[in-house]
């Protein structure tokens, strides 16, 4: 039976992953901000077969609380087999351009909070010398686009941080998986006009993540076809890219 820690447990992708693990009778430590949503998620997982579900209410921008939350998790579970870092927001780019405070706050939510958590978490995982840390980054971190480069910047930071962490933890038997989803049909993307053919369900992303964890992949695009899309986008020379309205 797996022990699973999920940060941002009420996000659509996290819930879909958790449902897979719940049916395999996993035990959970769920971290989230909204007590009611966290409780509803916990109830659902219990019905679906979870052995135990602990919840922890936390505003992830309150970095001082990170250590305590992780302490609680590791005291309840002797080993953590899977950690999924799934929290995030989708900033309003134009607001980030007008207001520095908004920009920095969003960078903190999507970037700094992940760095803080992963730093504390990595040391605990090294102690147990096993397990996987799966981190949801984004295809948006592969290239800075005018329409959402604040989000992209934070995700780029997360991707590079994970790359370094992966190499560091590899020697101690801890695996780090970077997940780069494309467009996903979730509450976070509610109201955006996205190209229908490229949008997939959170359940599909969850299958990709679960497979990536099992196969100990390093970086996965979810679904896999984004690898090819991003390969093309990454090769567009800057002098053309800057003229494109992406």
């Amino acid at each position: 039976m797996k022990n699973v820690l999920i940060v941002g447990a009420t996000s659509a992708i996290a819930i879909s992953c958790a449902r897979i693990w719940a049916s395999e009778k996993a035990s959970f430590f769920l971290i989230g901000r909204d007590p009611s949503k966290l409780q509803q998620t916990a109830d659902d997982l219990k019905v679906l077969g979870a052995t135990a579900v602990h919840t922890c209410i936390l505003d992830l921008n309150d970095f001082n609380q990170h250590e305590e939350a992780l302490d609680e998790c590791f005291s309840l579970m002797d080993t953590v087999d899977i950690t999924l870092i799934a929290h995030g927001t989708l900033p309003d780019q134009s607001e980030c351009e007008r207001d520095v405070a908004v920009a920095l706050h969003e960078f903190s939510s999507n970037g700094l909070s992940v760095i803080s958590l992963l730093t504390l978490l990595a040391n605990r995982m090294v102690m147990q010398a096993s397990g996987t840390i799966a981190v949801i980054s984004s295809v948006a971190g592969d290239r800075g686009r005018p329409s959402n480069y604040l989000y992209g910047t934070a995700k780029a930071a997360v991707s590079v941080f994970c790359e370094g962490l992966r190499a560091r933890l590899f020697k101690s038997g801890v695996h780090v998986l970077t997940i780069k989803p494309g467009f996903v049909d979730t509450p976070m993307t509610k109201g955006l006009s996205l190209p229908g053919l490229l949008v997939v369900s959170p359940e599909k992303i969850a299958q990709c993540i679960n497979k990536g964890i099992t196969k100990k992949s390093n970086t996965i695009y979810a679904p896999g076809f984004w690898f090819f899309i991003m390969m093309i986008i990454k090769t567009i020379p800057e002098f053309i890219f800057k003229k494109m309205n992406l």
Binding site: Q40, D43, D44, V47, L48, F183, D185, V199
Partner: protein, 438 residues
């Protein structure tokens, strides 16, 4: 991502814009937001209603597909509580391994719990268990004035009865408490018997319905004369022993909408006759999985696309026991004479168990469901002919399948519509309701 939604029959064409709701706590705000932006809306689950009963008057629907969490499941008592967007498929996957099954299931598992209540669906066991609504212990409903009301037979019983079969008009169902039935195996002991005429069907049904949990018949609506109403009678019971396993079969799919209907005057007689002769004249017994027994069409994803771009209409009526045989003869003769008949022609003897629903469809008697590829002659000539037969026999039509019923007929068939209208949430209205009550 803002793809529009249609109904299962894809007729009439009123593309619906979905507005998603994700959390129980947000439901009230989402409902009032929609009401203030568009005037009114309608909850939309899986879109398995055939006609226009799942269309909002404003064409802006409140999509409950993401309201799909379980809340509790008592493995000892078989009582399950879940959000209204949970599908019957989700319920089955969870409960079968624990030895429980749906008390009543329609012919597809891709419907939501909310939809099953709103249409008070029935199944092959109507003669012994009545409609779905009879097994609903309680539900919570959210109204546009911000109230959340718990309804059951004991508590707010009027709203409970108006909501069961109430076509989603009395509020948005947030969560449902349902009593399941125990099973010892996920297998079904089934038997099939061919019958040569309507008369033979009635004697089979009289003899075997009461001895079996499930019974249904398929009827060949292409033959005339003395074999009118020939078909295949099927019964089934949950097996006493065996595994409790959820079938996960790879699904086939109709990948695109056919340019014209594959079910047409050329293919239908062949399909019908072929299916009839596929079954041996002698009774056949078999132990089969629950999936092919209850949900044969669920194996083919998007089967409605085979009816082409114009879509199709289903005609489902129920005729009271006294007039059932004669009216059914007339209906089948009318179909056979036009040659436009249906492949999916299903007959089911409904029992006398009363539903709590005010405007629930079934009544003691014989129900007939037929699918027709859409053409303008359906609403202008064929259906009016059927309607006359049904009306004169004292029967009625099923709103969940309907795209043509006249307002006058609806109000005659369902005299309690006024009570539902009185309890209707002012922020909810469907194209169907607008059509039949004005």
């Amino acid at each position: 991502m803002v793809d529009t939604l249609s109904s299962w029959g894809r007729y009439p064409a009123f593309p619906q814009t979905p507005h998603f709701t994700h959390w129980r706590g947000d439901l009230s705000d989402d409902l009032s937001d929609l009401a203030s932006s568009y005037g009114s809306t309608l909850p939309y689950g899986q879109g398995r209603s055939y006609g226009d009963s799942c269309f909002a008057k404003t064409d802006h629907v409140l999509q409950t597909a993401y309201l799909n969490r379980f809340i509790s499941f008592n493995r000892e008592t078989g009582v399950i509580v879940a959000e209204s967007g949970v599908t019957l498929e989700q319920v089955l996957s969870l409960v079968i391994p624990c030895g429980w099954f749906l008390p009543v299931t329609p012919g597809t598992k891709f419907v939501s719990l909310g939809g099953a209540i709103a249409n008070d669906v029935h199944g092959k066991n109507h003669h012994v268990r009545g409609t779905f609504g009879r097994h609903v212990l309680s539900f919570n409903i959210v109204r546009s004035d911000g109230q959340k009301i718990t309804c059951s037979l004991q508590e707010n019983s009027e709203l409970f009865s108006a909501t069961i079969g109430g076509l989603g008009l009395t509020g948005v169902i947030e969560s449902v408490e349902l009593q399941l039935i125990p099973i010892s195996s996920s297998k079904i002991d089934s038997s099939t018997i061919r019958f040569g005429s309507l008369n033979e069907f009635f004697s089979l049904s009289d003899e075997f319905d009461s001895k079996n949990e499930y019974s249904v018949a398929w009827v060949d609506c292409h033959v005339k004369g003395s074999s009118t109403g020939r078909g295949v009678y099927m019964t089934g019971n949950h097996s006493d022993s065996g595994d409790l396993t959820v079938n996960v079969k790879r699904k086939m799919s109709v990948p695109f909408t056919f340019p014209f209907s594959a079910i047409n005057k050329m293919s239908l007689p062949l399909l019908n006759s072929g299916y009839y002769h596929l079954h041996k004249a002698k009774p056949q017994q078999a132990v089969i999985n629950y999936e092919p027994f209850f949900y044969p069409l669920d194996r083919i994803e998007h089967w409605n696309r085979a009816y082409g771009r114009a879509g199709f209409q289903q005609y489902q009526c129920v005729i009271p026991e006294n007039n059932a045989e004669s009216a059914m003869h007339e209906l089948l003769a009318a179909i056979a004479s036009t040659g436009s008949g249906s492949f999916l022609a299903v007959m089911k003897r409904c029992g006398d168990i009363v539903s709590p629903g005010m405007i629930s469809f079934p009544m003691p008697g014989l129900s007939l469901a037929l699918d027709f590829p859409q053409s303008s002659s359906l609403n202008s000539t064929l259906f009016p002919r059927f309607d006359t037969i049904v009306r004169e026999a004292g029967g009625r039509l099923y709103p969940a399948k309907d795209a043509h019923m006249s307002g006058e007929d609806f109000r005659t068939f369902y005299p309690d519509w006024k009570k539902v209208e009185k309890l209707r949430d002012p922020a909810l209205c469907s194209r169907f309701w607008q059509r039949v009550i004005s």
